[in-house]
Each structure stands twice: as C-alpha cells, then as structure tokens.
C-alpha cells in the first residue's frame, strides 16, 4: 500500500522534473515566443523577487482575508442550515433535491449579479466565495446525517433515546467524517471561486494581479504569480488533508 503510494509520488515528481526540463529546453532553443512561454529561469527569478520583496504577500493577504470572511459565513450558514434540515427526514426530502439542483447550475453565471449588487470590491468576492462554499458544506452535512446506518438509529430508538439524544449521540458522531470532508471541499471551492471572481472582475488580490500582469504582457511575472497560487493551493490542500485525517483518527479512537 505504502509501496504503491511511494511509487505514485516518484512518478509525479519525475513528471514534474521532465516538464521543467522540457520548459528549459524550449526556452533555450527559442521554440516558442517568450510572450507565450517565458523562460523558466526568468519566471523563477520573478517568483523569488516577488516573494523576497513581499509584494506577493500583499495580494495574498487580500485574497486570504476574502477567503476567511467568506468561509466563516459559509461555515456558519452551511452547518446551521444543514443540521436544521438534516435532523428531519422530511425536510431532507424537501430540500436536498432543491439544493442539489441549484448546485448543478454553475453559480458562476450569477457572478455579474454579485458585482451588480455589491460592487467590484472585496464584498462581492466574499459573498460569491461564501455562496460557492456553502453548498458542499450544507449538502455533506445533510448527506452525512442521512447516510447514518439505519440500524444505529433503530437501536437508539429501542433504547428510548429522545430526538435530541438521538441527534447528539448517534447522528452527529456518525455523520462527522462526511461533514468534515464537506467542510474541506467547501474551503477549497471557496478559494478557487474567490480567485476566479477576482480575475473576472476585481481590483485587488492574487486573481486580479494575474490578470493585470497578463494584460500588460508581462508574462514572466504572470507565470510567477500563477505558480505561487498553485503552490498556496497545494499547501492549503495538504494542511486540510492532514487535519482531516487527524480528525478522523481522533474520531475513530473516541
């Protein structure tokens, strides 16, 4: 199992190395105009520069602020609504198809509305990110509670559990892993939708910076920013996976 995991990791690293080598080769051989593909070393120096002089962190700060604000809203709303609905099978049957249906429509088509209502500043980004992050959280909360093994519920009922006891002692603990995974997905979706909304209509933050550099034909700097965002996404994702697996282990142990 771990052998396979290591193998997979090695293949991935090898692939990245090959890509970088190919990139360097293409740059040296001048096969592609540097406007389309800037030289690898130029992008790296640019990346080092924006990291060392701190400019990138200013933009990162804006984006992260939007993200955390959006996430706090989504978390509060998603968990509250999810629990309220999830506690009753009837309301699950009413709302789950509705929420699923809305989530199947790409919410991004409503982005112009967010801009229209809230302006081009950070408020529209926060609202947009919160909307997107809300759905996986609420759907997984409902789904997690709904998927609890019916035998547990029957046993608890036969032991005379009240509705609240049932919720606290049976439904919630059994559903937590699914809920936690929704919380994680919500965070990542929130992050990507905030970057996206900054790109489409934004003045500040990483997404808007990438676009502005692209429009100024400063492709090397744009690549540097894109790489930075990919790195941040990878780091956030890894952290969340670690948190999730630790959480699941703790939950399993208790």
């Amino acid at each position: 199992m771990t052998g396979t995991a290591w193998r997979a990791r090695a293949i991935q690293i090898g692939f990245v190395v090959v890509c970088v080598l190919g990139w360097i080769y293409v740059g040296n051989a001048r096969l592609i105009s540097p406007i389309f593909l800037p030289r690898f070393d130029r992008v790296m120096t640019e990346l080092l520069r924006i990291v060392s002089n701190g400019t990138v962190f200013v933009y990162l700060g804006v984006t992260l602020f939007e993200l955390f604000a959006a996430y706090a809203l989504a978390l509060a709303a998603g968990l509250t609504v999810g629990f309220l609905i999830g506690r009753s099978r009837f309301w699950v049957a009413v709302f789950e198809p509705l929420l699923n249906g809305i989530f199947a429509v790409p919410i991004v088509i409503f982005l112009p509305l967010f801009i229209l209502f809230l302006g081009i500043g950070i408020e529209s980004k926060i609202a947009f990110g919160a909307t997107y992050a809300f759905f996986p959280i609420v759907l997984n909360t409902i789904g997690g509670i709904g998927a609890v093994d019916a035998r547990f519920v029957t046993v608890a009922q036969s032991l005379g559990a009240t509705r609240w006891q049932m919720f606290k002692r049976v439904l919630l603990p059994a559903a937590l892993p699914v809920i936690v995974s929704g919380i994680r997905i919500g965070f990542l979706i929130g992050f990507f939708s905030i970057i996206g909304s900054e790109m489409i209509a934004g003045l500040d933050g990483l997404g808007s910076q990438i676009v502005q550099l692209g429009e100024g034909m400063n492709t090397a700097a744009m690549f540097a920013y894109i790489l930075f965002v990919i790195l941040i996404a990878a780091i956030l994702n890894t952290l969340l996976s670690l948190l999730q697996s630790r959480f699941n282990r703790v939950a399993a142990a208790s």
């Binding site: 049957a93 801009i115 229209l116």
Partner: protein
C-alpha cells in the same frame, strides 16, 4: 439520498409539493419585494424578468450569443467525453497503466484550473476556442476518473464465467468489462457536464465578445437587471435541461446496479 425516495411513500404531505410550495413562495416574496423595497436599477421582480424575455429573444445578437454558448458547451463536452473515454479505458484496464498514468492524471487534476484561465486565453485567443479548451479542461477529469473507477468494478466471477464459456479477450471486453464500466461512465458524464458548463462560463465571463457570459456583463453595465436576469435564466434553464438529460441517461444505464442485490 435514496432516503428521500423511501420516505416519500410513507409521508402524508409529499416533500415534492412542499418543495414546489417553497419555490413559489420565494418567487412571490421576490415579486412583492421588487415592487416595494428593492431598487429597480439593481433588481427586477420576476414579472419584469418574464416581460424581458421577448425583448431579449427578439435581439438577433443575443440569440446568436445563446447559440454560441451552446455550441461551445457541446463542443467542449463532446471533446471531453471522447478524450476522457479514450484515455480512461486503457488506463483503467491494465494494472501497469493504472499505476503509472493515474498518478499523473491526479497530479494535473490537483492544479486549480481557474488560476491558469488567463493562459487559455493567451494560447487560444479570445474567441470560442479558449472557451471550448477551458471547458474541456474541466469536463475531462470527472469523465476520465469515473471510467477508470468503472474498470475497477469488474466482477472476477463474471470474468471467470465468461472464460469458462470460451470467450476470448475481445468478447470479454465487449460483453463483460464494458457493461461494468457503463454506469460509472454515466456518472462521470453527469459530473463532466456540470464541470464543462462551469469552465465554459468562467471563460466567457473572463473575456469575450460573444456568448451569454459577455451579454450578462453588458446588461449589468447598462443597469438593465431585467434583461440580465432573463439571460441568466436562459443559461440556468440550459444547464438544468442538459443536466437532466444526462441524469436520465445515467439512471437508465445503471438500472441493474441500483436494483441488483
């Protein structure tokens, strides 16, 4: 999920009707608010949105925009489907390709696609090509990964039975492996359809001179919320219809999975 289905029979008040009631109530509340507290420069009541439909659909530019978006979506979905299957089948079928190629697919899938959206425009231009390419980049992964997952579900007992009856490699693929992959392929198509739509619209909103995404911005900038809502509604309806088609196909293709056992 199927909880709702089993529940429905036993409940007096059908959740479907309650759901419909809630939707109606929301629309009515919006209508009332539209005439009283909301600023008509920013939001229009549903009646105004409905009234805007003929106006919008009469405009040949907008009709064209809807067609362009639809064409981009279908092209992207078609390419994503063909490529997803063409890559997914060989990857899923053999242990060697699975072990060596799947990590690469997952690696590429882990890149947040929205960050490279400007690159798609840089490489494919501002026309439909970049929208289609970006749509493909979103739609291909769910399809590919579901095809791969489907290949893993093949029942060893079925393989053994087919072998005992004299089936060769080709027949085993056609009659045993392929049927096993179909239900999972259709879940992939459903997810892929949603993802493709997301990709196409993202790219349209990001920069274009055609398509629905472009006109939503035009309406926003000219403070015409009714027109804008109507256009968004057209898009949403398109999304819902396409989604429903694929969902139906999925249910039909996997009937034996749902009811088996």
């Amino acid at each position: 999920m199927n909880l709702a289905m089993t529940d429905r029979a036993g409940l007096r008040l059908s959740p479907g009707w309650v759901r419909a009631g809630i939707v109606v109530l929301a629309v009515v509340a919006w209508e009332v608010a539209g005439h009283t507290i909301l600023d008509p420069e920013f939001i229009s009541p549903p009646s105004a949105v409905i009234a805007a439909f003929p106006r919008i659909l009469a405009d040949s530019d907008i009709r064209h925009a809807i067609l362009v978006s639809f064409y981009e979506l279908l092209a992207a979905f078609g390419i994503a489907t063909v490529a997803g299957i063409a890559l997914g089948v060989p990857i899923g079928l053999h242990r060697f390709t699975l072990r060596s190629a799947l990590p690469l697919v997952l690696l590429i899938y882990s890149i947040p696609q929205v960050t490279v959206l400007p690159l798609f425009v840089l490489y494919f231009g501002i026309g439909p090509a970049s929208k289609i390419a970006f749509g493909v980049s979103h739609g291909i992964f769910p399809i590919l990964l579901n095809v791969v997952a489907g290949a893993q579900t093949v029942e060893p007992a079925h393989l053994k039975a087919a072998r005992s009856m004299g089936a060769g490699r080709l027949l085993i693929f056609r009659r045993v492996v392929l049927p096993h992959m179909v239900p999972s392929l259709f879940s992939g198509l459903r997810l892929g359809m949603s993802a493709t739509l997301l990709g196409v619209i993202l790219a349209e909103l990001y920069g274009s001179q055609a398509g629905i995404g472009y006109y939503t911005q035009v309406f926003t900038n000219s403070f015409d919320p009714a027109g804008m809502f109507a256009l968004v509604a057209v898009l949403a309806v398109m999304a819902i219809i396409l989604n429903e088609i694929v969902r139906r196909a999925e249910r039909r293709a996997s009937f034996w999975r749902v009811t088996a056992r």
